[in-house]
Every structure is written in structure tokens, then in C-alpha cells.
Amino acid sequence: MFTEPFMQRAFLAALFLAPLCSLLGVFVTARRMAFFSDTVSHAALAGVALGFWLGFGNPTLPLVVVSCLIAVAVYWLKENTELLTDTIMALLLSGSVAFGIILLTALKGKQGEIQRYLFGDVLAIGWPEVWLSAVLFFVVGAGIFIFLNGLSLITLQQELAHVCGIPVRALNYAFVIVLTLAVTLTLRLLGIILVTSLLVIPPAAARSLSRNLRQQIVLSICFGLVAGIGGIALSYQVDMPSGPVIVLTSIILFAASITVSKLSKRALSASA
């Protein structure tokens, strides 16, 4: 399976994106931003449609740009209107999907793209996506550890973080943009519908076995790697789409971690 060029690209992309999403996911889940991630991934459909309409052969660039614009729009509307955040996100999510589907249907020969982006397609991962994933992995990975204290305090309580001199607004926007970039690149692997799972399931599995943030971060990255790499290998073996197999692999890890956590708690209380 490693001799196939498309599989090499898929493995490399998963090697960079799965741990990155799992790391970001620790903060996404604690900050209850899973719906936000769903919103920017669905906005990608509008980006894809616009890209094809504007004549792009590979719509990755317009996809990333439109998703980032929607991400910033969510935060701008949150700060400048009295609308609830969930309302804003539901509005932008459904609007982007509707716009994307209508435009792709209107463009001749592009209807098949809807399915490819909704459910993911490892064949669509080219070398530019692999390089982008590598750059994002190293830059964002380093950035998260440099700003770990600020990001953690913002997650615990924004006002406390502000009093500690942390640039809360700038870090919030940076986190949103980075999250959007990670989501838009990962959706080629998992598809628009399933991409959020890689941000939510590995950190959730890690949390049930962790007693502190460091343990959760390390375990989440490990679970993400196993789900991403293992899921792609398994999908090749059983000839199934990679996205759903990655998700089911991470759910098996989640179920195993919950079971281990429950059993160890029971053993601890029995010995006490």
C-alpha cells in the first residue's frame, strides 16, 4: 500500500494533520467550539463552488479563503450584533452549503464534486496539500506550545487572562484562523461532514484517561495519530472510504478509553 503515490500522500497528510487537529481539539472541546468547526468546514463548499466558477483547477485556495472569511464573520457578528453565537453559525453554515450546492449544480460537470468534498477523497490529496499540511503542523504546533499558557488561561477564564496581560482578542482571532486552516486542509481526508470528529473524539478519549492538561494533550495527539494513520491503512485494506474508517477507528479508541477509565476507577474504589 505504501508503493501507491496517492497512499503515500494520504499517509503524509494524516501524519501531519491528525496530531495537529487532536492538539487543537483539546482547546476546541474545552471552549465548546465544535459547532464553529462544523460551520467553517461547511463554508468550504461555498469556497469550492466559487473556485470552480472562477476557473481554479484546484479549489484549495478559494476554499481556505472563504472558510477564513466565514470564521472571521462569525466572530465579527458576535462582537458587533446582539445575535446569539449559535444563531450566527447556523445562519452562515446553512447559507454556505445552500450557495455551494446551487452553484456546483449550475456549473456543468461539477455535481460530482459535491460528494467528493462532503465525504472526503484521499485521491484528491496532491503534493501541494501535503506541503501545506507539513508547514501548518510545524508552525501551528510550535505556536501552540509558545502560547500554551495564554491559550490555557483564555480557555479557563477570559477576564483572568486579560488581567494577566494576555492579548485575549488577538489570540482568539489567531486561534480561529489556525483552526480554520487545519479544518479546511483536513476535510480532503475526512470530508466536510466528518472533519469535526478528528477535533472532538481524540481529545474526548484522552480526557477520560487524563488528570491534567499535559496528559490530555499528549494522549490526544497519540490517539489522533493512531486514528489517522490506522484509519487510512485500514480503509485501504478493506477498500472503504478513508473518512468514515478514520472516524470509526477514533470512536473505537474513545470506547476503549472510557472502559479503561471506568475499570480503573472501580479497581481504585475496591482497593480503598
Partner: protein, 261 residues
């Protein structure tokens, strides 16, 4: 005997002049004047919706003000004064699903342990040890911050706020969700810390009897400062009625302490 804060010489920790804050169409603060001299414990009391939290948020630069002036240690730019401020927020605002441990939380604030992620627990503990003396939280270091009881959390938040040697401590309803013995020991701890570090303290509280016992100066707020003065002068039925709009009784306990209810 307490001097009026205006009469106290030197640069005050906090100086608020003619502060107006409007939220939506509602004028929450309407010309508030306040002064916290260095080294004093000043309490801010008032009913729900009186603007206590808005005033505290304004002091921290978290609330846009409509007009007026705030100076912290003489600085108009609040960001310049932030390194001198310790802040203890209300418990209810903490993100409960976040698994940050007490050790990690404190290590983030202390300069010596900022790289805690890459260090062993024992190394972090050694570097934090001196800052935790007298706070009784050594046994809590492995516990998640958001899962502590009210009293435990307040001690941890106090430890956190003291790690950078602040000159001003802002406490927002610090004993909300804490039982009565816990409340008493919390205020005793604050009094010890205040005396040891010669801190200025602004205490926002509903708990009138604790304010009476521990604050040297009291501001009663209800959109405007209704009355101010030493605790024993402000905490009388007439002043409190002006602030709270209802009759609040004060009575003398047989153990010799005045209580306000």
C-alpha cells in the same frame, strides 16, 4: 480611626472620577467617584444590578466607559498598571470542562515555571513551594482547577493572583458558593496577606457582615455612590436603606460583634 481616602496623601492605587457607563440604553454608572489609597481594604457593596461588577470590569479595562476617568497607580492607560494587579474572579465564570490542574494553573503565572509543560512535577513543585506557604493548597496541586470546592478554589485563585507580587488585589464576590466557616477563614487569610504585603484591596461583596469586619472604607453603590465612609459609619440602617432601597437591620451579637442583615 480611618482617614477619608481623599485626605490620604500619595498616589492612590485606584482613582475614579465622574465615571459614566451605559450598557445598551441603561445608564449603569452615573458619575461614580472613588479612591482607594495604597494599603487600604476598600469594600464595594450594593444590591444586584447596582453596577458593582460593571465598576470592577471598568477598573480592569474590560468595560468600555462612556465618560470619566480611571487612574490605576496614577496611570491612565490601564494596560500599564495590569502587572501590578491581582484579580480573583467569581467561581461561576470558570470553564468547568477544562482539565487544567492546580499545579499547571499556578505554574503558568509564576515566572520560574512558565515552561511547566516540559518539566517534571517535582521540579515545578520545588519552584512553586515558596509562594504557597500559608495558603494551605499544597495537597490540591494534582486536582483540576474547575473541580475544586468553593473554599479551595478561592485559596488557589488567591495564590495565583499573588504569584507576581501585585500591589492591588481586586476580589469579585470572593466567597460566593463558600460555606460560612470557609468564608471567615478566607477573609482572615486576605487580612493576613494584606498586612504582610501591604496590598490595596478592592472587595466587591454581598456579605455585609464580613465587609463590616474587614474593610477600612466602604462605598455603597447604586448607580451612583450613595454613601461612603468607615465601615461602622456606612453600615447603619439609614445609609444601607439609601443604597439597597429597603430596610436593612443591624444588631449587636452577644459575642461583641455587630452584624448586618
Amino acid at each position: 480611626m480611618h482617614l477619608h481616602p481623599i485626605a490620604n496623601p500619595g498616589t492612590p492605587a485606584v482613582e475614579v472620577r465622574d465615571l459614566h457607563v451605559t450598557l445598551g440604553n441603561h445608564a449603569v454608572l452615573r458619575g461614580v467617584n472613588m479612591r482607594v489609597p495604597a494599603g487600604e481594604v476598600v469594600a464595594l457593596i450594593g444590591p444586584n444590578g447596582s453596577g458593582k461588577t460593571t465598576l470592577l470590569r471598568s477598573l480592569l479595562g474590560l468595560q468600555k466607559i462612556s465618560s470619566g476617568e480611571i487612574r490605576l497607580f496614577g496611570h491612565k492607560d490601564i494596560r500599564t498598571a495590569l502587572p501590578k494587579i491581582g484579580y480573583v474572579p467569581q467561581r461561576i465564570n470558570l470553564e468547568s470542562s477544562f482539565i487544567l490542574s492546580v499545579r499547571e494553573f499556578l505554574a503558568m503565572r509564576a515566572k520560574a515555571t512558565r515552561a511547566w509543560f516540559w518539566e517534571s512535577h517535582s521540579e515545578v513543585d520545588v519552584r512553586l513551594a515558596a509562594s504557597l506557604i500559608g495558603l494551605g493548597i499544597e495537597s490540591l496541586l494534582d486536582r483540576p482547577v474547575a473541580q475544586l470546592s468553593g473554599g479551595q478554589l478561592q485559596r488557589v485563585l488567591i495564590a495565583f493572583s499573588l504569584l507576581r507580587q501585585p500591589e492591588l488585589l481586586l476580589l469579585d464576590e470572593p466567597t460566593a458558593g463558600v460555606d460560612t466557616p470557609g468564608e471567615q477563614s478566607f477573609y482572615e487569610l486576605i487580612a493576613q496577606i494584606q498586612a504582610r504585603h501591604h496590598l490595596s484591596v478592592v472587595l466587591v461583596s454581598h456579605d455585609l457582615s464580613m465587609v463590616y469586619k474587614h474593610a477600612s472604607w466602604v462605598y455603597a453603590l447604586n448607580g451612583v455612590i450613595c454613601c461612603e465612609g468607615p465601615a461602622d459609619q456606612v453600615m447603619n440602617a439609614e445609609s444601607l436603606k439609601e443604597a439597597y432601597g429597603i430596610h436593612v437591620s443591624t444588631y449587636h451579637h452577644h459575642h461583641g460583634e455587630d452584624h448586618v442583615h
